[in-house]
Symmetry: C2
Subunit: 150 residues, 2 copies
């Protein structure tokens, strides 16, 4: 698992797209056990006024309705440590692995994912970290809103 993975690259492209739209720069991509992209997307809080369309939720939405078997052995790539909601979404659909870009700007439900048997890999991407640092510096209020903090 590395930054060159197709799933990670797609998640990163989504994060860049989010940044270019002036949104929260977090992207995600759901990849099936056999390596196919099922869905990808990025946080749409600012673009669509949505409190629930985080990157991972966008990727799941984009994948559409699927039977449980489609998620079997799947990997959720995300550019940032997943928040509690996105952690829960990965658990609901029983993805096998969560690959995250970085967790230096935010730590979500990694421990709980591991407790529930999900493999968690941090690729420690400098670009993911830079995207978040820039956004948090320029939009501290919007960032706090996105993670439910005052």
């Amino acid at each position: 698992m590395s930054e060159s993975d197709i799933g990670f690259q797609a998640a990163l492209e989504e994060a860049r797209k989010g940044a270019s739209e002036g949104g929260v720069p977090i992207g995600a991509c759901l990849v099936s056990a056999d390596g196919k992209i099922l869905g990808r997307g990025h946080n749409l809080r600012m673009q669509e006024g949505s409190p629930t369309i985080h990157g991972e939720i966008a990727a799941l939405n984009n994948a559409g309705r699927l039977p449980a078997s489609a998620y079997e052995g799947a990997t959720m790539y995300t550019t940032l440590s997943p928040c509690d909601m996105c952690t829960g979404a990965c658990l609901l659909y029983k993805v096998k692995r969560v690959v995250l870009g970085e967790n230096s700007t935010f730590v979500g439900g990694e421990d709980y994912l591991k407790q529930r048997g999900v493999e968690v890999i941090n690729v420690k991407s400098a670009e993911c970290e830079d995207l978040m640092k820039k956004f948090i510096k320029e939009h501290p209020g919007e960032w706090n809103e996105d993670i439910g903090e005052q």
Copy 2:
């Protein structure tokens, strides 16, 4: 906390609406600390082909973008024990209490909510249970899809 609560009644109305649309009959309603309805909605898997718009997510979406302070002391009413994703959404926004209609047809993240300090109340509504039993009997495949089960 009882079935006559304004929040619970709104959640139940949403569940009935979902049923009348042929969808998964689960509704939810987010109520602020001072008793105002912030948002309400129902599961839209079948109506909109969405794998993420469960009742609680719909209620949060309908409430729109809010600062963390707006969720302080809030209660999420839902007609069914919340799945892992909706459990996580309640934790992300730090609602104080989750009031659920029933947990005889499905048990979600109640224990985890309690571990994280959220009050959980089961009003054991016969109507909520009947709505779910009917749906599960008539649409077992769709129900399994909604909870990520084979």
